[in-house]
Amino acid sequence: MKYDVVIVGSGPAGSVTARFAAEAGAKVLILERRAEVGIPVLCGEGISQRVDNWDMLEGKRWVASKMDGAKIYAPDGTLVTLSKEIAGNETGYVVYRDIFDQELARRAAKAGAKIMMRAEVTGLTKEGEKITGIKVRQFNEEFDVEADVVVGADGVESKIGQWAGINTVLKPDDLETCAQYTLTNVDYKSDYAEFFIGKKIAPGGYVWIFPKGKDIFNVGIGILASLSEPGMPLKLLDKFITSHPKLKKGEPIRVLAGAVPVARPVETVRDNLLLVGDAARHADPITGGGLTTALEGGKIAGETIGKAVEDQKFDKETLSVYEAGWKEAFAKKLLRNYVVKDIMLDFDDKTLNMLADSLKDYKFEEFSTLSLVKALVLKHPTLLMKLKPLLRLSEKSTKKE
């Protein structure tokens, strides 16, 4: 079996890479370990409405609800609001991630990509040092797939990078360990994403409540793994829900565990190989959001591969067009938010309360973490001194965020 490109993982980054590579004329195979694309869902399911401008998803079947903004609650309950009315630009959707992923896979298939299910990748094949494809196990059969390019779209637990000599191991302070319930029959009306921060609520992370339409809500928690104990996310989430006047009357229709990289991006390119999405650590270190970067990065990866196939050149230098592309698109934002994450970790609950109090009536210029960070630096220049040079750096790319 020989393909131009074999993509390990049918999540958003994998499917979008597949689509754009196939549209550029490449012969593409996607391998998926699971029995169904998009299932089980491992996600809070929030995404920016910027996705509307990208021609990634057709129809609206993947949209569960629209959100009008975000409410952030400090440990003492002080509320900071980023709303559509104030910001005037797009905010967010809550999506059905299973339908979302299946829609992206459909676009890949439409472009000509092949998909193989229940196919577990067990290693890379090499001729000397050169990567020539992958080893696969499927329904108790083992076989090799030859390819000029191998794409690791294998998520937070990525093995592809490590097999190619890229160190993708996450330090415990670069991983959020998560749990989430989808609750039904909740007698509560909210059009906002709600976030709750504080050492007692979620050490090094936050609790989120995303309205999913009707009386359904995604309620989840992320805790920094270095501050967590075995089972802590689920325990603290249970505690949060039972002490919440509205949520405690809801019943779960889904429970999930999750893991989100909140790290610096890694090297993403080798001869004959590249990494996309969570495997490339392309998730926002403050919010943990990784969908938009997976889509943006996947498109750049697919286009780069398309060109490589046309030129029949698959060395690191040729594929580095992808690395330069995602760096241009979102590296500054990820690096800046990584520094913000580090600074925020040093703040105790009292400081968080004070910061929230200073922003409770603030008119944010747009709906983004950048406008939140800018406001904080404006109000507390000494406290956030380390951020100043980074903000100036990122001014140029503000419009893209």
Binding site: R34, V255, A257
Partner: protein, 61 residues
């Protein structure tokens, strides 16, 4: 008696992959939709045990 090792309770594991991403020894893999520790590689650093959001990884002698 050997050194203790990490062991995944496969009935409890929800396959989030967090343990795999933090293992410094590449000792954890996904196997049949559940995390699985390769004993020979495990150095019992305990990082995966602490990381598991549902407490599905335990110490085993």
């Amino acid at each position: 008696m050997g050194k203790p090792k990490a062991k995944v309770d496969e009935k409890e594991c929800l396959a989030c992959g967090g343990c795999i991403s933090v293992c410094p020894q590449d000792a954890v893999s996904m196997c049949g939709g559940r995390a699985f520790v390769t004993e020979d590689k495990c150095i019992f650093c305990g990082i995966c045990i602490k990381t598991c959001p549902v407490g599905a990884i335990n110490e085993e002698d």
